[in-house]
Symmetry: C3
Subunit: 192 residues, 3 copies
């Protein structure tokens, strides 16, 4: 089967994790990575940096799909502006789901969101656009995650939680049931 091509926007550490997910999913053919001008020609896990932001207008003639592989720690403004730019140019931002993750069929996940290895999305969950649901994160029943959020590695959103747009929910953090979360939540903390 001919797989559709995809380009990856950002060639850092999170990119390596996403490459691993895309390879495992085996649904897209990674055509290359977009990063800074001076990195063109270098490679990440064997995939070449083929251009910088200025080349996106040209690249879309050949490649319809893109995934943002820039991380999101304190600040997600770069991910948000990339999302807008890619949409404006006309890229499709597919949902990428690791085959090692579990996503309940009673759940909706919006465009540009990536579900990493061994994440678990339980029943009656809604996840917005351009989110990272990172490795081993657990999203319990009835949770809503709005747009541009990063639910970090191994963190737990318990039942009925609402996570507002642009939230960073730290690695191994835990939320109480039915809480409302926004802003920056520290790694390992308990949010009530």
């Amino acid at each position: 089967m001919n797989k559709e091509k995809i380009i990856l926007i950002g060639g850092g550490g999170h990119c390596r994790s996403v490459i691993d997910v895309i390879e495992a999913e085996d649904k897209f053919d990674i055509a290359g990575i977009i990063d800074k001008q001076e990195l063109i020609g270098s490679s990440v896990l064997g995939y070449k940096v083929i251009g910088c932001d200025d080349d996106l207008q040209l690249l879309i003639k050949d490649i319809k799909n893109a995934v943002i592989t820039v991380g999101h720690l304190e600040d997600n403004s770069l991910r948000v502006s990339l999302y807008k730019k890619l949409k404006n140019i006309g890229f499709t931002l597919p949902t990428i789901i690791s085959p090692l993750a579990y996503v309940s069929k009673h759940t909706t996940i919006d465009e540009g969101t990536v579900i990493m290895h061994q994440a678990l999305i339980n029943a009656n969950v809604k996840i917005g656009k351009n989110c990272i649901i990172n490795s081993k994160a657990l999203i319990e029943h009835d949770v809503t995650v709005e747009n541009h959020c990063h639910i970090s590695t191994g963190s737990i959103l318990n039942g009925g939680v609402i996570v507002k747009s642009n939230t960073f929910f730290g690695s191994n953090a835990t939320s109480k049931q039915y809480s409302n979360i926004s802003g920056f939540v520290k790694a390992g903390s308990v949010f009530k």
Copy 2:
């Protein structure tokens, strides 16, 4: 194959998670949900509330299996009394195990206990009756969990721990090896 029918006792958030597990396990046919009188006719993930507690005597003529889908946070008295009532009427309370969970073959799990998605039960473990081993919980080697306990989402019982009956072990809590646990353990805490 004709699957056996099962009814679910309690139609809240935990019920939605258990429905997801029963559907994934594909062993039982969900015949409906038991909840308050005024909810009869409403539905949960597409399954109808078909009766209230008073109807159980009649329903058992057609449906032999029941699973308690009421949650257990501070207080498990409702789960315990439902367990006794269902046993008195004559229901079978099967063990429900997510196909996404791992249960060592060197382990015993008693009736009415539900093992949720991506939980891991290691070797030489004993789990009692009417427990919830919630999503992504980890029960290490040589642990004993007595009856009517809730081992919450993503929590970790390390090797040799004993959990006394009626314990609530909070989400993402961690126990030291060979500790004795009872009562209420807070989310995210470390129990020594």
Copy 3:
């Protein structure tokens, strides 16, 4: 297929977990356990204690593979000295990987290291010799774990972390990205 034989060095709690992994992996035939003289003839999950350390010189004539199944809590000196002894005698110390774990193909794992159930080793990771990567541990992209470390149950090493030799990283502990870790890290703590 004839599986190669392996002996297990140490018959305690961690041994039971490793037996479960070896049985699930179905690659080796457990020929028996090495423990104290007075335990010879007793058994662990159905496998006999067949000798003590003094018998290793003889046993290698028939059995080429060994795995250290002594645990590592505060102190790993026993695991380190056993490693040296087994290497001196000439045993092969294979890498044991649970089929329930995920190990990225962009990763290297050295001899004598055991990857327990539902552990996740992401892309571009290097793991040294004689380590325990315990149940549900998460090792993110670009991490280095040196020799003789124990990454405990459910703990999280975030991207780019370096873990120095002989480290104990406690159960459910979390590390910040790109930190340098050595010594003893407490269960449930956040390492910055």
